[in-house]
């Protein structure tokens, strides 16, 4: 039996959005800890700024790389076992 699942490649953005939300929430809590516990020194500012600049660069490069993608294009997943075969059963009449 062959079961094909069709969807547009925009569906790939859903797990990516979840990762971005996860990173955003945890980054917020990390920066909140630094501010809340009074760890607002030059080093912590530098690291926080490095982090924010890095995230901006990653998101910008991702957006640039994905500029020409047609997100309405369909893709399909076909789970198939056609590549596998069971070994032949031994014939009891043959020695």
């Amino acid at each position: 039996m062959n079961m094909t699942v069709n969807f547009t490649i925009a569906a790939l953005l859903i797990p990516y959005a979840l990762v971005v939300i996860f990173v955003g929430v945890f980054a917020f809590f990390n920066i909140h800890h630094l501010v809340h516990y009074g760890a607002t020194t030059r080093l912590s500012y530098a690291v926080t700024m490095t982090f924010l600049i890095g995230v901006t660069c990653i998101l910008f490069l991702t957006w640039q790389q994905l500029g020409g993608v047609n997100w309405s294009q369909a893709m399909s997943l076909t789970p198939s076992l056609s590549g596998f075969s069971l070994p032949d059963a031994p014939n009891p009449s043959q020695p």
């Binding site: 490649i9 790939l12 953005l13 797990p15 990516y16 990762v19 971005v20 990173v23 945890f26 980054a27 809590f29 990390n30 920066i31 800890h33 630094l34 516990y37 009074g38 760890a39 020194t41 080093l43 912590s44 690291v47 926080t48 982090f51 890095g54 995230v55 990653i58 998101l59 490069l61 991702t62 790389q65 994905l66 993608v69 047609n70 294009q73 893709m75």
Partner: protein
């Protein structure tokens, strides 16, 4: 870190040590993150050599870009979390007490306090090649209090810290002996 906000310093209390893990610990974490950052680059060159069509496919290319982007975002978050964990762990030794402030993960923070007079024994340990090379290690403080042991982890110059701590304990005992009323 704002010390006064953290320890509510007494009027005549002096901070003798303010310890964090050795900076080499942070550097080693940054190097690990840099090495992990090279994994997708190595993967890119490997795929372009073995299966170049995958990098230009209409579906595979955006999928790989999103995968790499998610990976780098997670790695970058790992870097920030490691820094916060390093920076918010601190051990403060004053001429009256010892404070341990430890950030355990993102949502757990432990602050413990110990009176110098309750210290029974102090042990310092430098164990391993890199700790020996960069002179960092642990200081274990045995106490008679409820929290039986205080550990300073991966702090610079642990042997000097132990010696100074024992000196402070001695001085504190003398000071307390002087202030005790006669006959006690």
């Amino acid at each position: 870190m704002n010390l006064d906000q953290l320890i509510h310093r007494k009027p005549e209390e002096k901070v003798v040590f303010y310890l964090r893990r050795h900076p080499i610990i942070l550097v080693s974490q940054v190097l690990l993150i840099a090495a992990l950052g090279l994994v997708p680059v190595a993967g890119y060159f490997l795929v372009s050599a073995i299966w170049p069509a995958l990098l230009t496919g209409a579906v595979a290319r955006p999928a790989l870009v999103l995968l790499a982007s998610g990976y780098y975002l997670s790695l970058w978050l790992f870097f920030l979390s490691n820094f916060v964990d390093y920076y918010l762990d601190a051990w403060v030794v004053t001429d009256d007490r010892v404070l341990s402030v430890e950030q355990r993960g993102l949502f757990s923070r432990t602050v413990s306090e110990l009176d110098l007079a309750k210290i029974q024994d102090v042990t310092s340990e430098v164990k391993g090649f890199f700790p020996f090379l960069f002179n960092y290690g642990s200081v274990f403080i045995q106490t008679a209090a409820e929290v039986e042991r205080f550990d300073f982890e991966q702090v610079p110059r642990p042997h000097e810290v132990r010696k100074s701590l024992l000196g402070l304990v001695e001085a504190d005992r003398k000071k307390q002996g002087e202030t005790k009323p006669a006959g006690e």
